[in-house]
Amino acid sequence: MNEKDPVAGSPALGEADLPKVFGTLAVAWLVPGAGHFLLGRRGRGVAFLLIVLAAVVTGILLTGNLYRVLPDQPLTILATLGSMGMGAPYFFLRFYLGYQGDLTSVGYEYGTAFLLTAGLMNLLLVMDAWDIARGRKE
């Protein structure tokens, strides 16, 4: 049974709602800001979506690197996980558009930073959505 969050006026999920929490987290990961939107923080959800997408689009315009795991380079595993944090945009860019980035581009390093940051920001959003769903945060 849901109990009302007295601060935000939206439901704080209990133990029985764990599947719902994980569903929300999955959506929060796939679509930046969607977790906050589903949890009733609609304005912030839209703002987060725009911010993460702005970072992704800037990274693409600069033809930065969308990390993937390379053999004999273990750090690319961490970088790939970080980039995958952006959710659906990562898979759309990598597998649907075949995006790779351009190593010879002037903006390559900057673009890589923007793309990686977008993934890391969305991972923070997922953790924030977890705290909100569990009633630990406003």
Binding site: F48, I51, Y110, A113
Partner: protein
């Protein structure tokens, strides 16, 4: 599109500052305050670091013609 290092650095600082201001603060006034603190800290810190590094050589000396 001409790429300015300073513009990209400023844009990056703005995006990150905006993100954390909305994530960490609820009140609009507090959000604006944190946004300004982070943005100015990032850009100012980068400029300060660049200024401190200015005397250091950036690479091998240019060949004498």
């Amino acid at each position: 599109m001409p790429i300015s290092h300073f513009f990209l650095m400023t844009l990056y600082a703005l995006i990150v500052s905006l993100f954390f201001a909305i994530l960490w603060r609820r009140n609009r006034r507090d959000q604006v305050r944190l946004l300004l603190q982070m943005f100015l800290g990032l850009v100012g810190g980068a400029l300060l670091l660049a200024w401190l590094m200015y005397p250091f050589p950036s690479g091998p000396p240019a060949p004498i013609p």
